[in-house]
Amino acid sequence: MNRRTLQRKITDALNVLSSKKPVKCTMYLTAVILFFVLILVPPILGIAIKWGTIQEVLDQPQLIGRTLSAVANSFAIALLVSALDVLAGIPMAWLITRGKSKWLSALDTLADLPFIVPTAALGYSLLLFWNDPQGVSALFGGSLISPGWLLVVLLHFTFSYPVVVRVLVGALLDYKKEYEQASRTLGAVPFMAFRTVTSPILKPSLIAAFIMSFARSLSETGATFIVAGAFENGPVFLQNMKQGFSDGLVTQATYEGATVFASVILIAISCAIFAFIRIFGSKLKLPFKGMWPNIERKLSYSKAAFSRNTTTMIVFVIIVLLPALFVALPAFQAVFTKTLPDAFSGSGVWSDYWQSLLLSYGLGAIVTVLGFIIGLPMAILIARKKLGKSLSALLDILVNIPLIVPSIALGVSLKFFWKDSFPLMPEMLLLIFAHLAITYPYIVKSMAAAFERISMDMEEAARTLGAKPFSVFSTIIMPLTKYSILSGAIMVFTRSVSETGATVAVVTSLRTAPVVIVDWVKGVVPATSLEIGLGCGLLILLSFIILFALRLVTRGKGRY
């Protein structure tokens, strides 16, 4: 039997299976059960198991105060950063989609760069740029921005900037220019057209971008820890607690109690905020009446456009791009010293570096593939509303929950659940579950969005031509959604490679690349700045190569 016949037989078998209702039901049911059992329920139960430890915290008023203040800092920073990201992202997305220069497609790619830099490396890069004498501080004699809340704001602004710009570019590309043109033929100057017509229509995307930035800011741990200094937000506080416990300064009960306490408050308030946004966001209406018509007129035409574009580019280059890539500098320096051969020989601090890289990328690949397998049926359920409108909407909301839970809290509660129920569970499996839980929402959301964009007409056309469900999926839906799926895969992969907080919470013996980098930067493992630079540089280079290769594969295919 040659390969083609085998392929044919497999396709036929799958087609027959996919036409049978019981088979389809089993597939969807399994996906939903796996979602609950692996993704949604363990973190909740994990916290429930350790509920009693909260008492430890409630007995220590100082600890309560510290926890609450850390949580408050988390929300304050998240709100500030998300607002800034959206405000800065709109003119950038506008420039990319509406600008007339041919350099703008290059800008589109450049805007993605901070996203592919693993966050730990990003944190170190920003630290170098803003704080180290090698960076901008050289111009000011003395460090310009020391580790603290401002650096955390800059960091969070930077790593969410590409995501926000990507969402807004997508929204603007889908946006029918005719609405804006109609409002201008009715007498509205461009700024007023934007205010009264374009932004209300784009509101769902603006809100989605805001939420993504907000959730990411709440949950990011590794890089924040690098740049926070003495400042504590939620994840940094939890990281400090863990460190204290490892150093013997804090009892296990106190550590677990603080973790549960902080996590519960973070999760509860986040859920409340997201529910609020979801319910009231659509009702939010900016007042129609222009209060300053002269200002709106001035803001509309070429001089204003020029200064707006210039400011946008300055913000992008100086606050986002240069700092994100700054770590390349010591990396280049390291290439010309002994550091490079040392790196390749695995001596000194490099002894577990390559292993950690291998672990990170291997884990990323496993998590991406597994995630797509178990997430695909879920995405179909949601996109095609197979369970009816309200159940599908409920599933959509539930899938979002791991997004808003701070990753370190997620990791800790997962550890509580799995370790306590299955003490002999191998750490690798625990790590896979943790990363799966964190990346699952990205997978399902990106696939569901891609499927939703394909009109039912195409599926129906294929079926009237005789295609069975599996064939409809493999010959129509998959080819059309390839680009989105691959973008989703890239997001998932980079997210997993970057993930620090959950990793440190969940495992003790396995160290992924970001964990190693954080240890080096924080001095837990003594490493020179050249070594750190090279370590980050290699990590970025590898991620870049993978991203570039994936982009090449999808280049030129229709955007879907």
């Binding site: 029918k176 043109q181 033929t185 009715l186 100057v189």
Partner: protein, 365 residues
């Protein structure tokens, strides 16, 4: 009350020339149609006048004012989009009030204007509905009302009836013309439907491949087409090829394919190849063989009943064919295979020089 004038207007999109050195003058308060097949440049011209795109060269005047560098919101125009472009986040009522509110009219004044224009478009219900809840016909009326409410004196319509079904289309087109006339507007209406253009326009510009082919009243275009393309695009024409065997003082003797000789009128010289364009209703038809001036003999090949008319396709001995239409209720119907004699008056046929690129290419859309 402005007139609209474009001079030497050119617009290219990459390699494609959408408009090639267009000159056109639309008079004040005229209802003017831009008519042509897809890709002829009519929508491009409309959008240039609106200011939604910029010309590569040339000038645009609305009234006395040169506007090629003026943005759309300052040109005092109303635009009705083919897809209506009703703001999806506003109700029908809010859409209509948008123009007055942008001009900072107080709410009372805006609402009065809104009521007036909705009265004109005869829509009083479903005003609280959002556009995605409305039918095509209602959306169209709201789109027109919105453009009128803004108070502009020049109304630009981009295939406003394209999304509507046939019956609705036929009714609404007269209403739009009436509204424009009642408000003393200058209206420019883009369409590919020649029946639509003919029924409501004061004058029409026929366009093809970026150029204006002929400008005139509907009667002028129908009765005196200046080119084969216009003869074909406006109404229907039969095309018979031949060559001039004798020519004196504008009177021509033309030998058609198959040897038949007919008389016609035109300024073509002896020996030249020509095409005769004859409208289906110009032919007189008689059963049997008769001797008349300008006769063509053939057999009925095909019959189609079209309600008001019957369409006969007659095949001549030369294998050319001609379409003849006769009123369906006014006379006895003929049947397939009947031998008939067609005749026509020489002045009623249009004579054109045979086009260099070939007949099919010349009349193709």
């Amino acid at each position: 009350m402005p007139d609209v004038r474009v001079a030497n207007l050119t617009k290219k999109f990459g390699e494609i020339t959408a408009l090639d050195n267009i000159n056109l003058h639309i008079h004040d308060q005229e209802y003017f149609a831009l008519l042509g097949p897809s890709g002829c440049g009519k929508t491009t011209l409309l959008r240039l006048i609106a200011g939604l795109i910029e010309p590569d060269s040339g000038e645009i005047y609305i009234g006395e004012k040169r506007v090629d560098n003026v943005p759309p919101e300052a040109r005092d125009i109303g635009f009705v989009f083919q897809t209506f472009a009703l703001f999806p986040h506003m109700t029908a009522w809010e859409n209509v009030l948008y123009g007055p509110r942008v001009k900072n009219f107080d709410l009372k004044k805006a609402e009065t204007i809104g009521d007036e224009v909705l009265e004109m478009v005869k829509l009083h219900e479903r005003l609280d509905a959002y556009p995605n809840e409305l039918s095509g016909g209602m959306m169209q009326r709201i789109a027109v009302a919105r453009a009128l409410a803004a108070g502009a004196k020049t109304l630009l319509l981009d295939e406003p009836l394209g999304q509507l079904d046939a019956k609705v289309r036929n009714e609404i087109r007269y209403e739009i013309r009436k509204m424009a006339k009642d408000l003393n507007l200058t209206a420019i209406h883009v369409t590919h439907d020649q029946a639509e253009a003919m029924s409501i326009s004061d004058r029409i510009a026929v366009m093809k491949k970026g150029k204006i082919v002929q400008v005139g009243t509907p009667q002028e275009l129908y009765l005196q087409p200046s080119s084969l393309f216009v003869a074909h695009f406006i109404g229907e024409s039969n095309f018979l090829e031949g060559s001039v065997v004798d020519s004196s003082d504008g009177e021509l003797k033309i030998e058609l394919r198959g040897g038949v000789k007919v008389d016609a009128v035109g300024g073509v010289g002896k020996g030249e190849r020509v095409v005769l364009a004859i409208r289906p209703e110009i032919f007189a038809v008689e059963v049997g063989t008769h001797r008349r001036k300008n006769t063509l003999r053939g057999k009925i090949d095909k019959i189609t009943f079209e309600g008001t008319f019957i369409r006969y396709v007659i095949r001549f001995e030369s294998q050319d064919s001609a379409v003849v239409i006769r009123p369906s209720l006014a006379e006895t119907w003929m049947s397939i295979g009947t031998e008939v004699t067609l005749s026509f008056e020489p002045e009623k046929a249009h004579v054109f020089a045979y086009p260099a690129a070939g007949l099919m290419e010349e009349i193709s859309v």
